[in-house]
């Protein structure tokens, strides 16, 4: 027993307070290293002579580019392609480099970037309460000489800062970028039908949606089926930058350049320029795009361009007949909605009574020839459709008796034409 106590005491002597100093293998404390890292990031951010360019791709689609310059006083100046204002007027606000969980870059007062994060749909659309699921607080992943990789803290939005060149800097600050954006949008509105043609001679329709920021190549495959190659894009100082490269056959490109002098888009394949060409009409016939880029032709109650005299007269008489009928109805929009897989077309007539909207639906089945000639067969209808069947008879008879073709009209409208009665045609908005 005694020996045991002795051992314990000796052991206690040996162990007690052995003051060997713990030294960090890094030589500095974590706090010191963190502070150094933040200082390093700050000097990189503020050290870029011509600022940084970057972009985000929200999960729901589309792409948005930004150009930022950071100063040492904690202020950032920002441009972007998110709105026309963003491209024109720089917004000056605050940023902070802070160790949150990791060294992070926080845009802590409102900027153009926050438009995509704003939960209020009245500001810039998006999902109520969430916006576009885009971050404005980013953790810094890694840095290289010319770039900084970041990941959003809440939604994991990926962002890569790339040092801008003097030319890019000047394009934003001189207003050239903003002018180019306007130019491109006007050009697309003026020339809605554009195509690319490679060595195989096939015309690939180019569709650029500047609202959803989507770029699409549309073509017919060997079986005559419509194929789509689609990706999000953002506006760069060169034109459009695609989120993922588009590959057709052996051709791959991820940028669509804008030639401002010649007012034309072009791509580069292995350094060789291929212009995007302008066509008078859709390369892919409209009936092939049914169910692909639109499903409905929406005919308004008042006449729009592309209506024949016959149709205008008929439409007026239908409206008058509904008004003077038993129910005192006002004709509202009429939808020709196609379900391609079921070969069904629904004629949905919306009518208003006492400020309330009602629907009368007439279902049709249809067949379509390879040339795009439609033959409609009316099916049984019920409810409201039965109540105004007589009023709608002129249109129903046409649909039942005639064959129809469809084509684009003035770029954005769709036109249905009777084959038998060439004086009967009308247009509607495509949805």
């Amino acid at each position: 027993m005694r020996t045991h106590i002795l051992y314990i005491l000796v052991l206690a002597c040996l162990l007690s307070c052995r003051k060997d100093k713990t030294t960090s293998i890094f030589g500095e404390t974590p706090d010191q290293r963190l502070e150094k890292a933040l200082a390093d990031y700050k000097s990189r951010l503020t050290g870029a002579a011509y600022g940084w360019k970057t972009a985000v791709f929200p999960p729901a689609g589309g792409g948005y580019s930004f150009f930022m310059t950071f100063d040492t006083a904690g202020r950032v100046t920002m441009y972007g392609d998110v709105t026309a204002d963003a491209a024109t007027t720089p917004e000056n606000s605050t940023y902070r480099l802070k160790a949150v969980q990791r060294p992070s870059l926080l845009f802590d007062t409102y900027t153009y970037l926050h438009l995509l994060a704003d939960p209020d749909p009245n500001v810039y659309g998006g999902v109520t309460g969430q916006g576009y699921y885009v971050d404005f607080e980013y953790a810094i992943d890694s840095v290289a000489t010319d770039s900084i990789k970041l990941t959003g803290i809440t939604y994991g939005t990926k962002m890569i800062f790339v040092k801008a060149t003097k030319a890019e800097h000047d394009a934003y600050t001189s207003g050239q970028f903003s002018d180019q954006l306007t130019n491109i949008q006007n050009f697309i509105a003026d020339f809605p039908w554009q195509y690319l043609q490679f060595a195989d001679g096939k015309k690939l329709q180019v569709s650029i949606n500047t609202a959803t920021k989507n770029f699409t190549l549309i073509y017919l495959d060997a079986d005559g089926k419509v194929q789509l190659l689609s990706t999000a894009f953002y506006f760069s100082t060169d034109g459009l930058y695609l989120q993922t490269p588009i590959t057709y056959g052996s051709y791959t490109f991820n940028e669509v350049f804008w030639d401002a002098d010649n007012q034309v888009f072009y791509i580069k394949i292995n350094g060789a320029r291929i212009d995007v060409q302008v066509a008078d009409n859709s390369i892919i016939p409209m009936h092939q795009l049914l169910g692909v880029s639109f499903t409905s032709i929406v005919v308004p109650p008042q006449s729009i361009p592309g209506w024949s005299a016959d149709f205008t007269t008929m439409w007026k008489s239908i409206a008058a007949s509904l008004k003077s009928g038993n129910y005192g109805l006002t004709l509202y929009y009429t939808y020709f909605t196609f379900d391609v897989s079921q070969q069904v077309m629904k004629l949905d007539v919306y009518i208003i009574q006492n400020n309330r909207l009602y629907l009368a639906e007439y279902p049709y089945t249809y067949t379509k020839t390879t040339d795009g000639v439609f033959d409609f067969t009316e099916q049984a209808y019920q409810g409201n459709a039965g109540l105004i069947a007589t009023d709608m008879a002129p249109l129903r008879n046409r649909l039942r008796n005639d064959h129809f073709t469809m084509d684009f009209y003035a770029g954005t409208l769709g036109q249905l034409k009777s084959v038998e009665n060439t004086g009967f045609y009308f247009t509607g908005y495509l949805e």
Binding site: D31, S93, T94, R96, V100, F107, D108, A117, T154
Partner: protein
């Protein structure tokens, strides 16, 4: 006693070394940034005179982590804060004095640009914690031309300040017995139902304390004419109760704080109307 030498050795050896706790801990001492004109303006008008911190730079950890919110636009900070200064700070300091206000005012304002969207399809426009911190939302839509919006924001601030007052000196206990029907599910009942029972707002129904501060803030923010209109819109039984509550509030301010409530009300109204 033969172990005595060993004990002595232990005493001598043990912990002979003294280390000074001089480790440098960078990053402690709060956040700093290069101050701009706005920061100086806030310092001059809120920090130095009243010790009120105005946090306009987004700080995730002041807010609900599960909500999507965006920061305030910098240019909105000054209009919002000067409105608060004119219609909350000024009336109280004028009527009740500087010392009273500095002692009891809430000490932190957190400004947020967007509304806070809740899962039940409502939005939150203001919250407060512990009588100390007030979070104001939807300030990017703040506009002096939108008087109902301005009043709504002020309502939150006056509401929270009244909480501080009654937590310091309790209001007369008779107030709690004027109306019956306090309920946690206050939002299930309409304003008309609340008014019929003598509650000035739907939320006033949630608890006597809330009832009291809703009375104070409604009377201050809507003014005498606005409050009279609310009373007039209530059924006679409810109206009588509202008048009874008004009497208690006025008496409480006089007896507990030596503040003439009607003077305070008029001063606040004049300030709001002159924005």
């Amino acid at each position: 006693m033969k172990y005595l030498p060993i004990f002595l050795i232990m005493l001598i050896v043990a912990c002979s070394k003294k280390d000074h706790l001089d480790t440098d801990l960078p990053g402690l001492g709060g956040e700093t940034w290069v101050k701009g004109p706005l920061d100086f303006w806030l310092d001059t008008n809120f920090v130095y005179p009243y010790n009120i911190e105005v946090k306009y730079r987004f700080d995730r950890y002041e807010l609900s982590l599960n909500k999507d919110l965006v920061p305030i636009t910098e240019s909105q900070v000054a209009p919002v804060m000067s409105t608060i200064s004119k219609t909350w700070i000024k009336p109280y300091t004028d009527v009740a004095g500087d010392i009273f206000f500095k002692k009891y005012c809430q000490k932190q304002f957190v400004l947020v640009g967007s509304p806070q969207y809740n899962t039940n399809n409502t939005v939150t426009l203001g919250t407060a914690e512990g009588g100390r911190k007030v979070v104001l939302f939807d300030l990017n839509n703040f506009s002096l031309n939108n008087k109902p919006g301005v009043r709504q924001m002020l309502h939150t601030i006056h509401h929270e300040f009244a909480h501080i007052l009654h937590q310091t000196i309790m209001y007369p206990v008779e107030f709690k017995t004027i109306s019956t029907g306090y309920t946690g599910s206050w939002n299930d009942y309409s304003l008309a139902e609340a008014l019929a029972r003598g509650f000035v707002t739907q939320y006033a129904r949630s608890a006597p304390d809330e009832d009291f501060v809703e009375m104070v803030s409604t009377m201050l923010v809507e003014g005498k004419s606005g409050f009279d209109a609310i009373v007039a819109s209530a059924p006679s039984d409810g109206a009588a109760k509202l008048r009874q509550k008004e009497e208690v509030v006025v008496r409480y301010f006089k007896e507990s704080w030596n503040i003439d409530f009607y003077t305070l009300q008029t001063t606040t109204q004049t300030a709001i109307n002159n924005l």
